[in-house]
């Protein structure tokens, strides 16, 4: 059984853990694939700029792609997650809902085969945030929204809870199916830790301030703007925009259909009773009229169920992908930011190097002679200092370049994966809808054909000619 590579992102605040080489040995044992280069050795896990996202995904870009290949070949799912059984909890401060999250797995990094924990929406939010922090250019499946403002749905309305539960279930399953995310430590803890344990683990994450710092950086980077965005990412951007528009349109259209159907139902509701009312004044006609009334009532019920199905199955999927479209745009923005950081550093280094080569130390030399230092000495000192600075900057630049390359490749691979998943999801959803529509019409057809049948047997019974 092939395994996905363990995510070495260290999610605790302890960011100076080096990757022990013995683990790499273990992993290499299990992998058949010789190309797989799991670890590159000279990158450290400590990041000097204090950023909280750990680019300590130590895999080289090439190996990333191989990971995806591995995952696709693995048809055997080795982890099953379900979200169910919502319960409400009342405390002095608030009321909230928890969901049961059950995990069944054969993965060896899990201590046992079955886990059952209770999680609330906040916990899911936390998990998503952690995954996004760790992998800024990977596409995390969206969570259901916090509040549904449109219908002013009350948070604890049954339908709302059920819709949310389904979405949360999908979310976790998407994470579990993702080659990188499913081996996230945070994910594992989410699935297995007791409530108290989770709370303390959450606290260990990078603090609020460092996250703020990151946001400020991101904004600054966005303002600066990326210079040389590779065409493929521009293409992705355009695609994301267009996709977002189309999927939003589909969402709106489907909602409109549901509205119209509901209004149709309002009118249809009166049909059956009207025929029944009529049958009460008739003698010969009473029976066929009552029959028609029955047919209309049955069709009404079928229509009601069909609308419900549309609402419960197609709408959530479309909605998810509306949110996905936003995620795509966010991921592209983050990638851009990483490139901006890199470009900034490259620029800074170039400037520093130019400084070093420049002769224009006239003013500073003048000052130095004023304070009594020999020009040669000062020059030497300065050169040494510059050299040091330049080396540091070069190291940083290398790191930034690696980070960028890694981010780009991660995004490219994940984009392909995402497209496949999107295609599969939407195809299933549309097929499902089409099937449901066929089934709806088939049921109504049966209803009216039974009416025809009854009229034929009546006609034959009365000795009249069969009129078809």
């Amino acid at each position: 059984m092939s395994r996905s590579v363990v995510d070495n992102t260290v999610s605790s605040g302890n960011s100076s853990v080096a990757i022990p080489t013995d683990i790499s040995g273990q992993i290499l044992d299990l992998d058949e694939d010789d190309d797989l280069e799991v670890f590159s050795k000279d990158t450290s896990t400590t990041l000097t700029d204090g950023s909280s996202f750990n680019a300590s995904m130590q895999t080289s870009p090439a190996s990333m792609i191989n990971q995806y290949k591995l995952e696709e070949d693995a048809d055997t799912k080795d982890i099953f997650v379900t979200v169910d059984n919502p319960e409400s909890h009342v405390t002095a401060i608030e009321t909230y809902i928890t969901y049961r999250v059950e995990t069944k797995t054969t993965r060896s990094e899990f201590d046992s085969c079955e886990f059952e924990v209770r999680r609330r929406y906040q916990d899911f939010l936390w998990l998503k945030g952690r995954l996004e922090e760790a992998h800024p250019t990977l596409i995390v499946h969206p969570l259901p929204e916090k509040f549904v403002m449109k219908g002013m749905v009350e948070r604890f309305n049954e339908d709302f809870i059920e819709t949310r539960r389904r979405a949360l279930h999908k979310f976790l399953n998407k994470i579990a199916e993702h080659p990188i995310f499913s081996s996230s430590e945070d994910f594992k803890i989410f699935l297995t830790a007791g409530t108290g344990e989770l709370t303390s683990h959450k606290k260990q994450g990078p603090g609020f301030l460092s996250r703020m710092g990151e946001t400020v950086k991101a904004v600054a980077a966005a303002v600066r703007g990326v210079r040389n965005r590779p065409q493929e990412f521009t293409d992705m951007q355009e695609y994301a925009e267009a996709f977002s528009q189309k999927i939003s349109s589909l969402d709106k259209i489907t909602q409109r259909i549901i509205r119209e159907q509901k209004e149709y139902l309002e009118e249809l509701k009166e049909c059956g009773p009207t025929y029944t009312l009529w049958s009460q004044s008739e003698e010969e006609l009473a029976e066929p009229l009552k029959n028609v009334a029955g047919c209309e009532d049955r069709c009404y019920k079928e229509t009601e169920e069909q609308v419900k199905h549309l609402n419960d199955h197609l709408i959530p999927v479309l909605h998810e992908y509306v949110l996905c479209a936003d995620t795509l745009k966010a991921v592209l923005r983050r990638r851009d930011n990483i490139q901006v950081v890199f470009e900034g550093k490259a620029e800074a280094l170039a400037t520093k190097a130019a400084d070093r080569d420049a002769d224009s130390k006239v003013l500073s030399l003048a000052w130095d002679s004023l304070v009594g230092r020999s020009p040669e000495e000062v020059k030497q000192q300065k050169q040494q200092k510059l050299k040091g600075e330049i080396k540091e900057m070069r190291d940083e630049l290398d790191k930034a370049e690696n980070r960028l390359e890694w981010a780009n490749n991660a995004l490219k691979s994940d984009w392909i994966r995402w497209q496949k998943v999107m295609r599969s999801d939407l195809r299933s959803a549309f097929i499902d809808t089409a099937e449901r529509n066929v089934s709806y019409y088939e049921k109504c057809l049966a209803v009216w054909e039974s009416f025809m049948q009854s009229q034929r047997t009546d006609a034959e019974g009365n000795g009249k000619v069969d009129s078809s």
């Binding site: 695609y239 009118e267 049909c271 009229l289 549309f430 097929i431 088939e442 109504c444 057809l445």
Partner: protein
């Protein structure tokens, strides 16, 4: 041709007739009571056309005329296909014909005309009388009216009806000459009778009640169906948007493109299919409307019965009161109040001569009254008899027609479901290729 012994040759369809020839025509082609006109000739309302002309107040108006075609049945079966005789009539002339029939045959349930103005419309249909769809449906309705009249055992043998079908000019004058308008009962008279009648035939009372219920329930049904049709239209048409968006979306996708594009076409087809569906719905609505208006005709017969019954009751009461007066005069006992009585009390008795004169007058009046009661009684009985026969006929016709209508409604639903199944199966196949 029904030959009632005349030697003259009946010439059908030749409009250049001498008065005597046309007399013979009428005589010879007059259908015997019991057989109907349709066995003799084919009738159709083939076309409709717009005309403009000056109306009664000398203003320009646009109106529609309908082409009535008639053709002897034999001609078709002989293999020759002569050009049918035809003439143009407008809706108002149909109305005139029907009014004439209503007055002339008050004991019959006279077939109704299609509606004057489009009612129970849902948004797609225009309520405009000039709308081509409305005109077409009216054409069909008018044809239906003519066929109904022509197949009625009594109405089909009416001269005025026959000349409506065959004589373009001067028909209106002929109708007015019958003086039918004078025979029409005033509304007030009829209303009065309805309120005051004491002993109407139970069956007619029930029929009237049934007519009320039928009208009410069919109106409700038509309203409900119109609103439902409106909504259904919306549902189908919105699906057309799927077609558009799928098409746009397919442009940005590589592998999914084809599947999406072709699925989109099916969504367009689905959206378009509602037009045919709702056209068939209109046809069903028209069948219901006919009986909505028939309910009115039925109630008219019942009201006429009330009127004849009331007049009989009035005549009877009148006779009774006259008899009583005679009795009082003869015996001297005053049981009824009369001004004469009072004045005679106050101012003295009348002379025996005066009494004699009065008695004589009363006797005459009583005789006349007896005749009147006899007449009215006969009228009433005759009316009840004939009317009930026609009502029974109508009941059978109604049961048959409405059952057929329900069946055709079911067929329409079945067809709609089958179309839906086809479209969504096709769409599903396209989605599978996504």
């Amino acid at each position: 041709m029904a030959d009632s012994g005349s030697e003259d040759i009946a010439v059908i369809g030749n409009t250049d007739l001498t008065p005597s020839e046309s007399e013979n025509n009428l005589k010879n082609t007059m259908v015997e009571k019991g057989t109907n006109l349709l066995k003799m000739m084919e009738i159709s309302v083939a076309e409709a056309e717009k005309r403009t002309g000056k109306n009664a107040v000398n203003m320009q108006e646009t109106y529609t005329v309908y082409l009535i075609e008639t053709r002897p049945v034999d001609a078709a079966s002989e293999g020759t296909n002569p050009v049918p005789d035809s003439l143009w009539r407008r809706y108002s002339e149909f109305e005139l014909l029907r009014n004439y029939l209503l007055v002339t045959y008050p004991f019959l349930v006279v077939p109704p005309l299609p509606e004057k103005r489009a009612e129970f419309v849902w948004h797609k249909l225009s309520a405009d009388n000039m709308d081509p769809d409305f005109v077409e449906r009216r054409r069909v309705g008018l044809e239906n009216f003519l066929l109904r009249v022509a197949s009625h055992p009594d109405l089909s043998s009416d001269n005025i009806f026959y000349s409506f079908l065959t004589e373009e000019n001067g028909w209106k004058e002929t109708v007015f000459e019958t003086g039918f308008q004078a025979k029409a009962d005033s509304r007030l008279k009829a209303l009065n009778a309805t309120f005051r009648v004491k002993n109407p035939d139970k069956r007619f009372a029930e029929m009237k009640h049934y007519g009320d219920e039928l009208q009410s329930v069919i109106s409700q049904l038509l309203r409900v169906r119109a609103r439902a049709a409106d909504r259904l239209y919306g549902v189908y048409k919105v699906h057309g948007n799927y077609g558009r968006v799928f098409s746009e979306w397919s442009a940005i996708e590589k592998e999914m493109g084809d599947g999406l594009q072709s699925a989109g076409h099916h969504m367009d087809a689905y959206a378009a299919s509602v037009d045919d569906i709702l056209e068939e719905e209109e046809h069903y609505a028209d069948q219901l409307k006919e009986y909505l208006f028939y309910a009115d005709a039925l109630r008219a017969v019942c009201r006429k019965h009330e009127l004849t019954q009331y007049e009989l009751e009035m005549a009877t009461m009148d006779l009774t009161s006259k008899k009583q007066q005679r009795e009082e005069l003869a015996t001297g006992m005053i049981r009824t109040f009369s001004l004469k009585g009072m004045t005679s009390k106050l101012f003295g008795q009348e002379t025996p001569e005066q009494r004699e004169a009065k008695l004589k007058m009363l006797e005459t009046q009583i005789e006349e009254g007896k005749e009147m009661v006899k007449e009215r009684n006969a009228e009433c009985e005759e009316f009840v008899k004939s009317a009930w026969v026609d009502i029974e006929r109508f009941k059978e016709q109604k049961d048959h027609d409405l059952r057929e209508a329900l069946i055709s409604y079911a067929i329409m639903q079945i067809s709609m479901c089958k179309k839906g199944i086809q479209v969504w199966n096709n769409a599903k196949e396209c989605f599978s290729k996504m």
